[in-house]
């Protein structure tokens, strides 16, 4: 449904999106993940046809967005980040206006608006002036707007930004429902959001692609962050032995989970430079060192980093770039 190939977007001399390529297939719900200012909104705006691209090609439902902009925009429902509306219009008036703009034929317009309001859960405020609505409702009106005319593809820019936990749950629920009929690309900087509603994820940072795949595939990228050992014997000797192993930068006692006399748990952290193979060897060495000191090893298990830590690792190196680009994006929009 969406094909982005070597997309580059510059604001003046600053690069907001740098050679980004990814695909979204029909029926997928894809999370577009990245820290604030990574170029998410810029990319989505390009896909939605609001911003022009500097180079590369973007196709929406097979239509090149620069050459067949109308066809592409007609296939796509877009919800901008700040969910702007005309405050003086009533919800139903606004959605009728949007339906007409999106070329829903006159006879089907009423029905299309009613359906969209149903899916986005805003029927109860149909006759309220948008300026009087709460943030959560306004967000959902934005969703209804994207849904009017039932476009096959939905592009949602931070659909849960600024909502309270209950509202977030509601919106996620709606998105999961939508995923059954529509292809969805949604951006977010919150990892749990992706876990909750997406079948696949595209991670970018500093305008570049850093990871792509299903949540499981991404989770497999987590490297072991350290080692958890349980030993019987002298605690001080165990800690000293572990600190002596190359690759271990920290070894701290942890509360043991058993009541057995003389059993201690220690948590070690690998040095940052350690790759997966070296970590495995360091594990062998650590166990060897413990045994060599006459301690009994009951347990030695790798400590995996959390998804949040992985996210930080994937995107962190570019955080400085991202902060700079954030400002540009503001200045440019």
């Amino acid at each position: 449904m969406i094909s982005v190939q070597h997309l580059v977007k510059r604001y003046g001399s600053k690069v907001a999106v740098d050679d980004l390529s990814f695909e979204v297939d029909k029926g997928e719900v894809v999370g577009f993940l990245g820290p604030n200012g990574a170029g998410k909104s810029t990319t989505l705006r390009v896909i939605a046809g609001f911003l022009g691209l500097t180079s590369g090609t973007v196709k929406v439902a097979g239509h090149d967005i620069t050459k067949e902009s109308f066809e592409a925009r007609q296939k796509l429902g877009y919800m901008p980040e700040a969910v702007p509306h005309y405050p003086e219009m009533r919800v139903v008036e606004y959605l009728r206006f949007r339906a007409e703009l999106k070329r829903v034929p006159g006879g089907e317009r009423k029905r299309a608006v009613w359906d969209a309001m149903g899916k986005a859960n805003v029927r109860d405020v149909a006759n309220v002036v948008i300026g009087h609505l709460s943030k959560g409702y306004r967000q959902r009106v934005g969703l209804a707007d994207a849904l009017v005319g039932s476009p096959p593809l939905l592009v949602l820019d931070e659909p849960t930004a600024g909502l309270d936990p209950n509202q977030i749950r509601d919106v996620r629920e709606v998105i999961r429902e939508l995923g059954k009929e529509h292809t969805v690309l949604l951006s977010t900087h919150i990892l749990s959001e992706v876990e909750a509603s997406c079948s696949r994820v595209v991670v970018i940072a500093g305008g570049k692609l850093v990871a792509e795949g299903t949540m499981d595939e991404i989770a497999r990228k987590r490297r072991s962050a350290g080692l958890h050992v349980v030993v019987r014997g002298d605690l001080d000797a165990a800690v000293a032995a572990l600190r002596g192993v190359e690759g271990i930068v920290k070894a701290l006692p942890e509360p043991a989970t058993t009541a057995d006399e003389g059993v201690h748990a220690v948590r070690c952290s690998w040095s940052k430079k350690l790759d997966e193979g070296a970590a495995a060897r360091a594990t062998e060495e650590a166990v060897g060192a413990l045994v060599g000191r006459g301690l009994f090893v009951r347990e030695a298990s790798p400590v995996k980093s959390t998804l949040e830590e992985l996210f930080g690792e994937l995107t962190g190196a570019r955080a400085d770039d991202a902060a700079r680009e954030d400002e540009e994006e503001e200045a440019a929009s």
Binding site: A48, F50, R73, P84, E88, F97, E100
Partner: protein
């Protein structure tokens, strides 16, 4: 261009649902009503002495009041057209719908022009009132209204362009007022420069004051039509380019 109708309707709706439109129209009709009253009073007391001018001519031509209200009312009418949408971000929703830049620009322009015409419409009553006491040359009346329409159309087009080049409504207001005032003053230069000089020719070509006097006395000069035609089309064209240009900003 199919996006024309919905945007046109929405613009009119947005304009008339806010107090701004009603305040502007009220101010306009108050000033024009007063103007008309003074004229009628003047003509009634002067009797036969002034025969070279009819009340109708005096209402539309040779009066600074006409321009005063235009300078006062045109900028607030056009300032919000694009500046407001860009400031609030609604332009993003608008331009990501299957619409064309030309369609958006023309729809917004048509809406503000419709408002302008609606503003003037009640003044036709003055003609009806004048008819109670004497004859009216309807050709002159038509040409005077044509003049009012052309001048307004040109000013509105300039105003819309100003609204498209800034995100600030206030700045759009100031810019519009400055530009149409500058154009007017340049035209007044016709009366202070020496005849025969290039400056004089330029000034008289753009002299809104002199144009309106012609229109008010029933003279429709094709040069004026070309001038106002370009005063409408050129800013519209640049506005369309400006709207396209945001995408590449």
């Amino acid at each position: 261009m199919r996006s024309f109708w919905p945007i046109y309707k929405r613009e009119l709706f947005a304009f008339f649902v806010t107090p701004l439109a009603w305040v502007l129209i009220t101010v306009f009709l108050l000033v024009q009503g007063m103007h008309f009253f003074l004229l009628v009073d003047h003509f009634a007391s002067a009797g036969q002495q002034i025969s070279d001018q009819t009340p109708l001519q005096a209402f539309f031509g040779n009066t600074v009041l006409l321009y005063l209200v235009l300078f006062l009312l045109i900028p607030p009418m056009t300032m919000r057209l694009f500046a407001e949408e860009r400031r609030s971000g609604t332009i993003e929703s608008l331009m990501t719908a299957p619409v064309s830049s030309i369609g958006v620009v023309l729809a917004k322009y048509a809406a503000v022009l419709t408002t302008y015409v609606a503003m003037w419409a009640p003044t036709v009553l003055y003609l009806v009132i004048l008819r109670q006491t004497g004859d009216i040359d309807w050709n002159v009346a038509a040409s005077a209204y044509l003049g009012v329409l052309l001048v307004g159309a040109g000013y509105l087009s300039l105003g819309m362009l100003m609204s498209a080049i800034t995100k600030s409504q206030f700045l759009a207001l100031v810019l519009t007022a400055t530009v149409i005032l500058a154009l007017f003053i340049l035209g007044v230069g016709e009366f202070v420069t020496r005849e025969g000089t290039v400056m004089h020719d330029v000034c008289s070509h753009v002299s809104v004051w002199a144009h309106m006097n012609d229109f008010a006395s029933g003279v429709v000069d094709s040069r004026r039509l070309v001038f106002y035609g370009s005063l409408v089309v050129l800013p519209l064209f640049v506005t369309v380019r400006a709207v396209d240009a945001w995408r590449w900003g």
